[in-house]
Amino acid sequence: MVNPVLLIAAPLLAAFAVPLWSLISGRSARYLPVAVLFFNLVISLLLLPRVRLEPIRVIIGGFPPPFGINLTAGPLGIGLAALIAGVGLLVAFSAAGSVRGGRGEKYHSLYLLLLTGATGVVLTGDIFNLFVFFEILCVSSYALVAYPGDRPAVEAAVKYLVQGAVGSSLALLGIGLLYGLFGTLNLADIAGRIDSVEPTRIFLPLALLVTGFGVEAAIFPLNAWLPDAHSSAPPAVSAILSGIAIEVGLYAVIRVTYTLFGALSLLPFLAGLALLSLLIGEMSAYAQDNVKRMLAYSSIGQIGLILFALALATASGIAGGLFQLVAHTLSKALLFLAAGYMIHRAGSLRIADLAGMGRRMPLTSFAFAVGVFSLVGMPPGAGFAGKFLIVRAALDRGEILFTVLITFALAGTVIEGAYFFRVIQTIYFRSAPDGGAKGEAPWTALLPLGLLAAAIIVLGVFPRLITGVLDSVAGELLRGTGPGGGGLP
C-alpha cells in the first residue's frame, strides 16, 4: 500500500533539496526533478487501479475529517496526478539539457514547487488546503514566467501576478463565506450540507470561487494575462503552464461547480463562456504572426472547448472533455517544446522565419506536425478522439441549445485548422531564403518530443486505454450532483 501523500511530499522535499544538492554537484542536481517525477508517475500509476474501486482517504495529523485536513484521492485526482507527473517528467528532462548557467537550480526548484502545487490541488479534500496548494502553483508560476529576467518576461509576470493575486483573494473570500455558512472546510462535508441553506446564499461564494479559480483557468473574460505570460516565458515553462497550470485551474472550477455546490444550473452559463473563450481564442490565434503567441491563444481556445464539454453535465460529455484535456496537455507541451527549439534555430519568433524547418530540423518538425494534427483533430491523433467524443456527447444531449453551441465550437475548430496548417505549410513547403544550416535539436530534447508524439498517436489509435478511467471519473463528478450529494463521501 502506497500512501498518496508521497505524491505531494516527494516533489516538495526535492524542491528544497535541489539547491542544497547543487552545492555538491551542479550537474547531477538538474536530474533530481526527473528522478522525483518518475517516482511520482510510477506511484500514481500503481494507485490508479485501486482508486477506481474506492477513493483513498488519507488523514493528516491525526484529526479525523471533517476536522483535520485530509487528502481524497479519487480516480480524477490520481489520474491528473499521473498526467502532471508524466508531462512534468518529459518537460523536466528536456529542460535539464537546456537550462544553462549558474541559476539552473533555482529554475528546477521553482519547477518542482509548481508541480507540487498542481498535484496538491488535485488530491486534496479540503477547500482551504486546495487554496494553499493553488497559491503554491500560482506564485511559482509567476516567478517562472519572470525567470528569464528580460523586459517582456518581467512585464508579462507583473500582469500575470496582479490578475492572479486578485483572483486568489476573491477565491479566499469565497472560502471565508463558505466557512461562515457551514462551519467546515472539508469538501465532502460542505457538499453534503449544501442543500441545507437557501440557494441565494450560496450564490456569492460560488461566484467568487469560480471567478477566482477561473483566472488561472483563463476562461474568457479572465484570460488577459495568458498570451503574454505563455509567450514570453522560456519554452519549457510555457509547455508546463499551457499543459498543466491552466488545466489545474480548470480542475478547481469543475471541482467547485460539480462536487462542492452541485450547481448544475450554472453549467449552461459556463458553457456559453467556454464557447466565447473558444471562438475568441481561436480568432486571436489566427491573427498572430508570433508562433508562441499563436500557441498561447490556441490554449485559450482549447480550454474553452474542454470546459464546454465538461459543462454538458453528462457522463459522456465529462469523459470527452477530460480526454480532450489529456490530448491538449500532451500536444501543447509537445508544441511549445518543439517550437522552442525551432525558434532557437531560426533566431526569431515569427512564423514566416520558420520557413524550411522541415528540412533543417526534420525530427523536431515531424513532432511539431504530430502535435498540430492532434490538436486540430485529425486522426490518428488523440485530439480526433477527444473532439469526436465531445461532439457526440453534445448531440446526445438532444437540446437545441447544445446543438447550436457545438456548431459554433466546430467553426472554431475550422479556424484552428486554418492557422495551424499555415504554420505547417511554412515549415515544410517554403524554403528559407538563405537555405539555412541543418541542425537537429539535442537528443535530450528529441527523446521527450518523441515520447510525447508517441503518446499522442497511441492514445488516438487506442482511446480505450484511458476511457475506462475517464468513465469512472465522470461517475465520481456526477455522483456529487445526485440526491444525497457528496461525490466525496
Binding site: 494553499v132 497559491e135 512585464e155 496582479v162 486568489s168 483573494s169 479566499l172 471565508g176 466557512y179 461562515g180
Partner: protein
C-alpha cells in the same frame, strides 16, 4: 445602531476589499497597484478573523480545568489567516521585486507608459 454594532467588522472588511479593488483597477502606478493588492488581502484576512470572533471571547486555550469552549473565539479562521498572511507576504515580496526589475528595464513604473501593460 444595533446593526452597526453587530456588523462593524464585516463592513470594515468589505470596505477594505472594495477600496483595494478600486485602487487596483484605477491606478496606473505599479506601486499603488501593489498597495491595492495589499489592501484587498488585508480586507479578506480581516473578514476571515471576524468570522470566528466572539464578542468578549477569550483565546481558545484550555489552560485550566474550569475552561469552557462556549466563551472562546473560533481558532480555525485564525489558523487560516496566519497561512493567508504568509502567502500574501510572498506574493507582495515577489510583486515588489518584479516592480524593481520592471523599473530597471523600462525606466518607469507607470503602467500606462509601458507598452503591453495596458489592460
Amino acid at each position: 445602531m444595533n446593526f452597526l454594532y453587530d456588523y462593524t467588522y464585516y463592513l470594515g472588511a468589505f470596505g477594505l476589499v472594495f477600496i483595494g479593488l478600486y485602487v487596483i483597477l484605477t491606478r496606473k502606478n505599479l506601486i499603488r497597484v501593489i498597495i491595492g493588492l495589499s489592501l484587498l488581502e488585508t480586507g479578506v484576512n480581516l473578514f476571515l478573523v471576524s468570522l470566528g470572533y466572539v464578542r468578549g471571547g477569550t483565546a481558545p486555550i484550555f489552560s485550566g480545568s474550569g475552561t469552557e469552549a462556549a466563551g472562546m473565539v473560533d481558532p480555525i479562521p485564525q489558523a487560516l489567516v496566519l497561512t493567508s498572511i504568509v502567502i500574501g507576504m510572498a506574493v507582495l515580496a515577489l510583486a515588489l521585486s518584479l516592480a524593481i526589475r520592471l523599473y530597471r528595464h523600462a525606466g518607469t513604473i507607470d503602467l500606462a507608459k509601458i507598452r503591453g501593460q495596458r489592460w
